[in-house]
Symmetry: C2
Subunit: 336 residues, 2 copies
Amino acid sequence: MTKLPGAYMRAEIDQAIPAFAEGVLQDLSASVKAATLDKLDAFYTIARGSSDAAANLISYELMAELQKPVTTLPPSVFSLGNGLQLGNAGALIFSQSGGSKDLISAAIGFKNAGGKTLAITNTPGSPLAAEADAFVDIKAGLEQAVPATKTVICTIAAGMALLAALKPDYAKACEAAAKAMLASADAKLEQADQIIEAVKSTPHVYVIGRGCGFGAAHEMALKLKETTAIHAEAYSAAEVLHGPLQLATKPLCVLILDTGEEVSNQSLSLAEERFRSVGANVFRLTPETVGAQGLTPAASSAMLLRALYPVILEIALQLGLDPDQPETLSKVTVTI
Amino acid sequence: MTKLPGAYMRAEIDQAIPAFAEGVLQDLSASVKAATLDKLDAFYTIARGSSDAAANLISYELMAELQKPVTTLPPSVFSLGNGLQLGNAGALIFSQSGGSKDLISAAIGFKNAGGKTLAITNTPGSPLAAEADAFVDIKAGLEQAVPATKTVICTIAAGMALLAALKPDYAKACEAAAKAMLASADAKLEQADQIIEAVKSTPHVYVIGRGCGFGAAHEMALKLKETTAIHAEAYSAAEVLHGPLQLATKPLCVLILDTGEEVSNQSLSLAEERFRSVGANVFRLTPETVGAQGLTPAASSAMLLRALYPVILEIALQLGLDPDQPETLSKVTVTI
């Protein structure tokens, strides 16, 4: 029997929240201890593509909870550049395959510079996991569709579990997220049909977030581009009212990912109002629209992605594309 | 007499290289000493918009030359979040106006957390300059067009002068850049007319760079969007062959900014080849096409921007727009 277009992606989206609930409750204290992460002053994330979007999102939650800087380093500093001298810092290296040469070079370079390394990967036996001081298995299981979905959501779960190991108080948030997200795992986004129609008929899309929601916006824009070939671009709510607003003089659809942080509310509302006033087609999305309450910003981001992935899948199918296999892409990309 | 559309932007582009040549030769050792930047283990840049693109570009040159991590922090960590505990780190805070409240909050927050702060600004008497441990005047002079051009190029000059103060050997590179760039300041980009035609007639544009060229690509994409309302997006050559390649199934123009780093050559060439093979309209640009030789990657980036700004101006005029005043924008954006 021939596989239906998008069958892999659909199945993997359905598996995402059960896998999240398992991953977010992992006890990662042994990995934290092995890489002495609890003794460090600063963290650097190193990643590419969807993993980089997830890393960005997790960084924000780590900074908010630990009050330590968590910023991103380009892998090429190690693979192409002269390397770095590091203080008392650790690298969180995210790679689903664990096989990207530039990320393995980064792990080696970071260790040689005196830093600690943790690999967050879906492939525990991978070269990256072997090079790092410790690794975390995101336990997403096999992913066959080219566009990553459940591995992204499981990477967020692993990031939250890591935070619980560094700050035991946070474990309550992990438990609450597992429970609330399982309860609304299959709920359909209220605005789904409207968004599908709007995105299909608009050549340009902005996905806007702030804080953790900015990383989620990156993932959403990347996935739309990869799966539907629609030009979607992510912006922070703080940046988008500078020059980027000008694109709204053309037909523009704006998706605002509201992860519920009280402090971001005002800037998301300002962006919403400005884009509406210049004629853009604006949707503001919250985890509450699928019934999930009381989530942290990182968990809200995971829930919003889970609710939006089927929307992307449906857009691709309606455009006559096979979401499982975008025509120009392969699953593993080699970076030189 | 009524001002012609784009008259401010045109004049400011013309002033950029003479101002760069002056700024890059500034002696910033007093500022470095005042903020004890030479004693620090790590740097964080804090900026928005065009200044953030320039900061990204400078970060790469600082990392390559100093072998210390230079990464970016979102200003909202201080304005909205809980702040940070910092080790022996410094913040480089970039703001042309020096008046953005969130950047001033970041300077105060960073200092309260025990970090050192340097403001890089076009407004020495600004609140940001007053809050920082020291400041650098980028000396671009008054900029009246909404799209920043000469202030971006002067910010790069200030970053290079800062590097010379931290690493005296680098002063030779500053002198060479001033000389070479003055000599080819007014040279026209060979491919200018072809690029104008291609970008005008294509709904989607990617601007691709690597290393310093990635920051330059960000600035170029932002400026195209702001000035011409064309959907241009920046990508690192390392990222763009993942999901983003799929956009090439639609009409796509690709501008590759080649800043001449030997180590980036292979990945830029791979991107060039892949995008050509899927039918995109690809232009690869080097400072050599305007006659500038022997530049560092940061100086190459400044030269490429100088060569491309008139192309953006011309596209806007041919589309019937006034580049000096994009219809939805004002010069200073308030971030909440």
